[in-house]
């Protein structure tokens, strides 16, 4: 499903961000990507949506070699992969409903489909009463759940979450993690980049540890955050 082979990323002249990464993630897995800030977790995730390109090596997602995807076709790749970020990246001038509707619009969904699906997904993440709220009127946890709803609206097979709990308190963090686990149970592959020890240990799934651009440990079951 996701395959990285000898992936290197070097920012000129000598800043090695990713160093010979070999990683394979199977469909339906829940992978925690852990490591301190600057270990290369975010860069690795950005490679999967082609926000960043490797200096050398190859990456394939769902059997498609990313280097063969033309710039014009990148939007289609991104519609297949849901993304969630630490800073939510919500459109502040749009309501919760409009934020989700917008993501549907850009992929060409019709009005009828939007009116049916958008409230439904917001209900699933527990924001049924917040349809008309603007992001500024919502708590951190609610914003992140909205972001997850938006990411899931295309029913992607992969969900990438980059430090989604970084701006949240403990309770809200657990809420978000529960939601990610639920999404995973329904069949979506989830890659969660985080440096939060408690969360990683609580999840207890596969843990890939990174340090200075390399994968230093890959525990396939009941992984722990160890540096």
């Amino acid at each position: 499903m996701i395959k990285l082979h000898k992936v290197k990323k070097i920012y000129e002249p000598h800043d090695i961000v990713l160093d010979n990464i070999d990683l394979e993630i199977k469909p339906g897995e829940f992978v925690c990507l852990v490591g301190v800030s600057g270990a290369g977790k975010s860069t690795l995730l950005k490679m999967l949506t082609k926000e960043e390109r490797p200096t050398s090596g190859s990456i394939s997602v769902e059997g498609i070699d990313l280097s063969e995807i033309k710039d014009n076709d990148i939007p289609y790749l991104r519609r297949k992969i849901g993304t969630v970020y630490q800073d939510f990246k919500l459109l502040s001038k749009k309501t919760a409903y409009e934020n989700v509707a917008f993501a549907m619009e850009v992929s060409g969904a019709g009005q009828e489909e939007i009116e049916k699906d958008a409230p439904q997904i917001l209900g699933i993440v527990g924001l049924k009463n917040k349809l008309d709220s603007f992001p500024d009127q919502m708590s951190g946890g609610e914003k992140q759940r909205l972001a997850i709803a938006r990411a899931m609206i295309h029913r992607p097979k992969i969900l990438l979450a980059d430090e989604p709990t970084g701006n949240l308190d403990l309770v809200n963090s657990y809420d978000v993690v529960e939601l990610l686990l639920k999404i995973n149970e329904l069949g979506t592959t989830v890659v969660l980049a985080t440096h939060d020890t408690n969360i990683v240990n609580r999840i207890g799934r596969r843990v890939v540890s990174m340090d200075k651009g390399r994968i230093v440990r890959d525990q396939s079951h009941n992984g722990r955050y160890v540096i």
Partner: protein
């Protein structure tokens, strides 16, 4: 596809309304640029009219010695007439010249009396020659000088008028090339100012564009609303410019008429109104849309 296009246009219109402050600024600046452009168009029209009027008044005359026979003069006339650059050649005989002169000075008794005193007609026969282009007078003068009958030619007026002819010519050329240069320069300035204003508008929404890209919006889906927005600035700016320009021309037209009676400024702009309206609106929309397209380009890099 059609629904998509409608949504993109709608979204551009919404942006235009929501950013009313910036829209107002961008529209105002574009309207000013378009008014300047129309002003320049007017000046160019006026100068070309003045130059055409002046050029029409310029001709070249060959005056013949009083002993030249009519046959000799007519021979030269027929020689000159076949030249391709000639528009017209008018022969004025000595008698005709005298009667014209008398008619011109009919009120002046002194001149009439002096003429009566003379035994012979003092005036020379002449050929008044007009060419299609003022630059060709020199070659006509040369042709006359080198003619086998040049001995009967007393003088050629070109050399006396040469200064005036050349000055009118250089003004005409200057107006053409400088006017064109000024229009280009102005268009460039208008484009830069519009571009900058639109760029600010887009910079304000940088984060939105980033988010659009991340949720998988295609470049056209992102670009479309901004192009629409830019086109709307242009549309409104051209409407404002035209609404200012036509009344202004109407007011100025009378004054221009009293200076240069051959020019009907308002009439000219009224008869070509449909072309001018189309041109200005087209120019405005293109200016706005192109500015937007350039301004947004850098945000679309994937």
């Amino acid at each position: 596809m059609i629904i998509n296009l409608k949504k993109i246009l709608d979204s551009g219109w919404t942006n235009f309304r929501r950013n009313s402050y910036l829209s107002f600024g961008a529209t105002g600046i574009m309207a000013l640029a378009l008014i300047l452009f129309l002003g320049l168009l007017t000046i160019q029209f006026l100068t070309s009219q003045v130059v055409a009027t002046l050029q029409d008044k310029i001709d070249i005359s060959a005056y013949f010695k009083t002993d030249a026979t009519e046959d000799q003069v007519l021979k030269i006339k027929s020689d000159v007439s076949v030249l391709p650059e000639i528009e017209s050649v008018v022969y004025v005989s000595r008698d005709q010249a005298l009667s014209d002169f008398r008619a011109r000075h009919a009120q002046d008794e002194l001149i009439q009396e002096s003429l009566d005193q003379l035994e012979d007609n003092p005036l020379a026969a002449s050929l008044n020659i007009k060419t299609r282009d003022t630059s060709q007078y020199a070659s006509i003068a040369k042709f006359l000088e080198e003619s086998p009958l040049s001995s009967v030619i007393d003088k050629i007026s070109f050399y006396e008028n040469r200064g005036v002819i050349e000055r009118v010519e250089s003004i005409a050329n200057g107006v053409k090339s400088w006017g064109f240069g000024a229009v280009l320069l102005l268009a460039l300035i208008a484009m830069l100012v519009t571009f900058n204003t639109v760029r600010l508008t887009i910079y304000n929404q940088k984060q939105e564009i980033e988010i659009m890209r991340l949720v998988g919006a295609s470049n056209w889906h992102i670009r479309g609303p901004y192009l629409t927005e830019g086109g709307l600035y242009g549309l409104f700016a051209s409407i404002i410019a035209l609404a200012v320009f036509y009344p202004a021309v109407y007011l100025v037209s009378d004054k221009v008429y009293s200076f240069i009676p051959s020019v009907n400024l308002f009439g000219y702009f009224l008869t070509s109104m449909s072309q001018i309206v189309l041109m200005v609106i087209g120019l405005g929309i293109a200016l706005g849309a192109v500015s937007s397209a350039i301004a947004i380009r850098k945000h679309l890099r994937v």
